[in-house]
Symmetry: D3
Subunit: 251 residues, 6 copies
């Protein structure tokens, strides 16, 4: 009983990370989290935006988009409306901010990494999967640049991953449930995106009351359920990197 | 010593709310919070977006923009780049979401309220001032519609206001300081926007590690300093509404 | 009898000019002309557009916009239609042309001044108020640059101000009335915007037959009523500059 | 001595109007005025813009564009910059306003006429040629609609034509010269576009000081030279309409 | 020796078609042709564009895009330039035209099918893979609609598939080689896209001389090598449809 | 009996080429092919796009547009929809590709030629007329540059021209007819644009089955009827160039 797909409150959906899904990007993974499916490609390019010229520091930015038929209904492409959807604008800023928070820009030097997150299929948690998968693509790209002698060492300071936790009314109670799928998300009382690091800290929290405002206690409940789940996701990331032969560099 | 402008950690900047700053909008206030100055206009119009047709429910949306010379440097208008800035897109979604969270859309009926927030001068906390001032404009517009017999009663369920609290390294410690001005914001370790209600709940939290990720304890510290300060802001809102002769309707 | 607000044919609406309404622009005024309210900010920046590179000459340009709820009805923002409204395009060209006509670009050097005119409230004559207020903002910015040693002397050659005069059918006659408010404007037979200088010359006239074409005699009547009224507006400008401690520099 | 192309101060350039230059438009002329060459097409369509629905009244609007190589230098197309040039926006508003001023919209009924003015070659006076030629195209379209029984009578109340007159320093004097070519225009002291009617009235004047502001006397001088020249242009229009077999309908 | 990847002149690259790669579209396949990888999704929606209203006939349209890192170099998204690339515009018109040529629009009724072709990885022949894969997605969508009783029978009249054949200088001769990869394409003398049907006819040919114009004989050589190869591709399509349990309906 | 305008199957419409239709472009012709009327202007400018910098090679590009009232119905301008129509995008790519195919870019040097093709009136075959007329404009511009000493010799390697041939059902048979007018085009079974050179080769073929797919035999029939007709068009081009005093330079 309980969750719509039979999971425990703190149970993640199956996660599958396929590195090198495409072959040209410096780092590429297809991340599947439940039915959510995001292609994350990291591109390494020389040069930085103007505001960083001659600072010796690099930059990282992210772009996020959904294919038109990633969802139950077809949505039109941004280009047909000549506008980035507000939702995509919000999400790509979040993904960029989160991944920047664990990169040492002075090690990166005057180079720019672009993380493209294209949602092939969406079933809740696409922004979180973009961060979790984007981290792997980023690490692959940096590792390749270290091996090519372009970077003197890995510029990544910590692991980072994200989960969407909600407050749902289940079994007569308002409970925190981690890693919501779309159907859960659309009936949640409150909706939290928690971006956490390998060291157990928080890079960003966004918590929105959907059905009603929430209390500080509820927020605590959400975080205490999410942090251990995030650790599990990060273990998954470590496993993938190990299998790719990328030796642990984060202390 | 301590804060750049001599305030206590939990001390708000002076807030001045000028209702009826312009005369055509159904609700209009100029809110000044420190040097931040936002003109909030609420427009009431018949009809709803397509996805709400024939549901008997209303809608509220917000638009946010900065005048080109609201800041230290002139920035170009969105129209000259043919793009809503990502930052504005993110903020106007937040303002709309926050204000919707305290409106009963079934009382509003098939009408739409647009809250225009135009920043005349920015010195930190413009999104928070937009929410705090936008609430007053919203209440004025609803009151007018109730008096005109268009709405049968106030559709607003609770007060709502927002504050930007940061973690700053001051006096050798990482401290939570409320209502940051621009200079504080630009050197903060972490930056929280907390949107709270009159009943002491949270409508939304966005907390971002700027200098480094933060801990759950730090987040608690931020919230425990912010919630009482939000209550002060809401007292300010109540005073303004009282002076406007809008009788308290929220239980 | 006579005019809708009781004024004489040649009587101006009350004008209020608030310098330093915002604090970051090199020059800033809020001009209120009757119920029309325009925020005029002058920004001084180094460099010139490409066609003036290496000529030793500067440039001045203007941008004009209305806030969505400046008027009786809310209008959508240009960015939501991805087009500068034709009306705004026309007006900002007029404002720029007019202010350029009294600036000595060789004294300005290879610098650019942008005059942003944002209408907070519109009740007729917004383009004229933009020119009249824009002049003050321009003078404040130039004065600051002279005091800062960036400019060797004031590059402004003359005062400039503007008024909207119409031909209205009042008391059984077609009469010229100066400084029309919105209601007068919308029923006028002909509508003239006259931009005049401190030396009593004309920088630009735009005269449009709205209800019917007009005669040369009518045009003369309009001008002979407008020129003295413009002198009054320019006296107002002089007073404001004096109060700001900007010594008269125009011979 | 005198004008660059040897003309008298009040002498027009040769004007050639070729009706039916294209065959699909309800009215079509190629107007050549000196080297300026504008294709004016009038399209008659059922229906009106929303603000005129159910008023029984029609509408007329104009669009103006220059082909990329109409001028000495190739200019890029508006679409490549995704912006109507400010200049084109200003001009097409002028053309539409001028032609609307001589149309009785109640006779037109709920129909819309679009006047497309495309400059094939520009040598000064393109906006004036657009109005002068646009009038012929308009008259042809209306005549066709009367003959087809769609309109019960000609909705045109008067002739309308336009000329660009300038103040030029020639032979040691500041003189008014009519129908400036591009080279004259680019060295003029002041530049007037005068739109006049068959009854000798003025539909619109736009007079801009280019080199310096001008006096009322100079403006009078300009008008007194322009009005007779406009009468000549209107005679030309009458001749063309007569040759097309459109009987005079204007009293 | 000969082709860069060791293939015979008339040998196809390995083709892999994965139906139901995503789960929400009415028809979905991932088609891999060599290293080219295109996700083709068919969306079935009620209603037709305006020009088909009340005709009883349906419509099919295609959209084509490349993910930013589908290629060796990252390319920016169309939305960041606010323009559909000319290349994409050309290709999506070709894909739509080709697929429409084998659909009976009267059987489709007033419904619209959109074929989204998103290139995940590009190595030559992406437009051809879009047509070949798009056909399968289309057939899956139609089959589902027949089974759901929305369509009374399959509206598809024939198979359709596409191949890119070039004229290459190999082994001292100008030879026709089918199914070029990117490296072949970029050095080809001429480049043909041939879209053929199950009945051995041609829906469209586009043949471009890249290095030099070509002769009619060369064009014949290209076609005679391409047509049998297209038959092989169509056999592949039949196999996939059979495995999906879609019974042959084309006579 | 047979063709709608009485022509033989292989008979061209009358073609009229007016060189120097406008005077500023380096090369300018008005080409009239039947009722189709296209103004082709060639602009020669220094410099090349970035991808050709420092290669010593030049570039040629084309732009194609239709005036709003070139057709039976008025169509709106691209700028009013902020999108280049897909059709125009496709055509201008074809025109550019075709004309590039006969230019030796190393003789052109680091210069760019833009061919602007603006359709004043459309009656079928506008893209073909753009190529045929564009060639003349190109040759005129190159000749002028040779005469001015900017180019050391003509960079044009061959003549190029285009014709639209269709398969039409006429007199009980499916016949190939050259140089279709609009009415023929809109009822054709298949539609071929054939771009051929002076040496009898093919620069590009685009053949689309409109009513049904076509056979290789039909394609051969189309080409064998089109190639001699193209030779006639090229004879026409030679005559025009001779009359312009441009001596034959193509061997």
């Amino acid at each position: 009983m309980a969750r719509i797909d039979g999971r425990e409150y703190n149970e993640l959906r199956p996660m599958r990370i396929t590195p090198d899904f495409t072959k040209y990007a410096e780092g590429s993974v297809l991340i599947e989290h439940g039915n959510t499916m995001v292609l994350c490609n990291a591109s390494f390019t020389e040069g930085v935006p103007r505001f960083l010229k001659d600072t010796g520091r690099g930059w990282l930015t992210a772009e996020y988009d959904m294919l038109p038929r990633a969802n139950r209904e077809r949505s039109s492409r941004d280009i047909s409306k000549l506008k980035v959807s507000g939702r995509s604008a919000e999400i790509q800023r979040l993904v960029g901010r989160s991944l920047r928070s664990i990169v040492d820009m002075s090690i990166l030097g005057e180079n720019t990494i672009v993380i493209d997150c294209d949602v092939l299929q969406g079933d809740g948690g696409t922004r979180c999967a973009s961060i979790t998968g984007g981290f792997i693509a980023l690490a692959m790209a940096c590792d390749r640049m270290v091996k090519a002698g372009v970077l003197r060492k890995m510029p990544i300071l910590d692991y980072i991953a994200a989960l969407g936790t909600g407050i749902l009314h289940i079994d007569g109670e308002d409970r925190a449930v981690v890693d919501m799928c779309y159907e859960e998300d659309s009936t949640s009382i409150a909706d939290f995106n928690v971006i956490g690091t390998g060291s157990g800290r928080i890079a960003e929290v966004q918590g929105t009351g959907e059905g009603r405002p929430y209390t500080m206690e509820e927020m605590m409940m959400v975080l205490s359920v999410t942090m251990p789940a995030l650790a599990q996701v990060i273990d998954e990331q470590k496993k993938v990197l190990r299998e790719l032969g990328i030796r642990e560099w984060i202390l």
